[in-house]
Symmetry: C2
Subunit: 349 residues, 2 copies
């Protein structure tokens, strides 16, 4: 059994998205149990009208308040301790759930998750990792996407370890290829932090393939791409912006005349296949890594399909023991470090 | 008259692209004079077969060697001083040309241009600026795109001044809106350097509109977006990578069956209009800013149309006095600084 706590009130839409998505997953996977956290009356009404086949797959947990998308981190963290987000995370902490999924404000979710769950030993800062669709029809996992600015090489090393464990768990790849995001050979290669990180990654217990560039994310050169949160967030927002612009332009052009509308009709099957292939809803669900618990963050504006994907990612992470894999990778690293220090001491003595 | 020195041998294709592009521009603009720099015999043969209407628009300057795309900066700078790139830049330095256009290796071009032309007073580091197509059908100027990693707030301030002058000159906007690339309000706002840069830009003699995010580049929120060269290069390569992936997927899907090929035929007019709208060849031509001369860098793999666009940008920069505008903006800044210091001294005394 996989037990997933849903922050039902989070995101731009709240219950009308989170509840049907949960019910759909429950229908497909009888082994999943949901803790639906939020306003009890509202949830029960919505659940009744959704008519799930097995009501026993759901437990409703009442939360008397919810965190709004524009609530500050301070408010989310200190003043709304009875929010659906807090209680969903608390369920993970108290081992009533194996994972938490929320579409709430990223900053708030990271702060509250860190406060409630605490970070894993050997991890200084949790990171946000998400898959970006590549031309191989798979996802390239990129981290950090905005939780950390001003990272040290040690932070980036930790991101690489956690990203590798995530890709093992979610993509089922035994030794994911890990690349360090850098800039072209044309310019001076990388900034100071990235250069030092490259050295650290060489001796880490991961399949480090060296530097990669921005376009490698879409080529699928690496399974995991590591960068600091400032760069990752700019990258994510930029590619989202371009994708939106292109889809808008395609639509506008196909609607611009009677002939073009006819062309759109003829081209619909191929256009919708294309849309499915690059549909980033299928990749919704960013992992908050480095915490003592599995937490997935859905896009705030996720629709039912997208939120469903986020739940399924959380489910896969639990089933494939993401947390154990992460802890193991970090332990291997620590062990390697100790060995190196031991050897250095031997040489010195 | 506008005199443009062309590094005819630079880029992935050299003469077969640079020469026809120059001839096309010469045909359209009788007021442009070209200094065609490279292998004299080859250029003269190519020029003869291109049959320009007015041969008087061209002067051939012989260069006995050329810089290859994979030559190191060291080789380009020290060992190939008689290359077409060197001589084209020298023509600008010696006021035989008003601008230089090269499709050669970016790192080499920046190093040689800096060596030959030197930087402007008040500028610590030259930057690379290019326009990225936005959904308003215009270009958002982004800089730096990779010349500088590890920038200080003062460097970013200088980029903002130069970018504003470039947009004035090329886009013809009197007070271009300048945005500072930052990450969302969701996370901690920006890294240390960006926070300090924000303060500096507030009091700069430009139309600073505050922070912008990655997707604002495509929305056209600002005319100029400022970032360090590491972030800018990652951004540029990422969006190029996504654009390539999308265009490949569209092509693949339209060729995947007989029906889809038929659909492609019907949809061709609308697809090609769409392609034109987002065609980044029309935005080819990155400005190397902060030098004592106008230098434009074309994409290495530019075709004739794209190289033509780079030449036209250089022409527009000369005609609209980019260099004077840049110097003026920097002087205003210096003047403001002196005033502030003066006031501070008065307060202290």
């Amino acid at each position: 059994m996989v037990r997933i706590a849903i922050d039902c009130m989070g995101g731009d839409f709240g219950l009308p998205v989170t509840l049907p998505a949960s019910v759909q997953v429950a229908e497909d996977y009888p082994e999943v149990h949901f803790l639906l956290v939020g306003d009890k009356t509202q949830i029960e009404t919505a659940l009744k009208s959704a008519k799930p086949s097995r009501l026993s797959q759901f437990t409703v947990v009442h939360a008397e308040e919810s965190i709004q998308m524009d609530d500050s981190i301070e408010v989310a963290l200190r003043r709304k301790r009875k929010s659906s987000m807090h209680l969903a995370l608390l369920a993970v902490k108290e081992q009533q759930a194996d994972a938490c999924v929320s579409a709430g404000n990223t900053g708030a979710l990271m702060a509250v998750a860190r406060f409630i769950l605490k970070t894993l030993d050997g991890i200084d800062r949790p990171a946000i990792a998400s898959a970006i669709p590549n031309q191989l029809g798979k996802g390239t996992t990129v981290l950090d996407l905005g939780a950390n600015v001003d990272c040290t090489p040690e932070h980036l090393l930790q991101f690489a370890l956690m990203g590798s464990a995530l890709s093992q768990a979610i993509d089922g790849i035994p030794e994911p290829k890990v690349g360090l995001l850098n800039i072209g050979s044309e310019a001076i290669k990388g900034n100071d932090v990235v250069k030092k990180t490259g050295d650290l990654l060489q001796s880490a217990p991961i399949n480090f393939i060296g530097n990669v560039e921005g376009d490698d994310i879409f080529k699928g050169t690496a399974n995991v791409v590591v960068c600091d949160g400032f760069v990752g967030n700019v990258l994510l927002k930029s590619v989202e912006g371009l994708a939106k612009m292109i889809s808008k332009k395609i639509k506008e052009n196909f609607l611009s005349s009677l002939y073009n509308k006819f062309a759109a009709l003829i081209a619909r099957p191929v256009l919708s296949k294309f849309r499915d292939e690059v549909d980033n809803r299928r990749y919704n669900g960013a992992a908050l890594l480095g915490l003592r618990g599995v937490v997935f963050k859905s896009h705030g504006s996720a629709d039912i399909l997208a939120f469903r994907c986020a739940i399924e990612r959380a489910k896969r992470a639990v089933e494939s023991q993401l947390l154990d894999k992460t802890v193991l990778t970090i332990q291997q690293m620590t062990h390697l470090h100790q060995e190196t220090n031991q050897n250095n001491n031997n040489i010195l003595s």
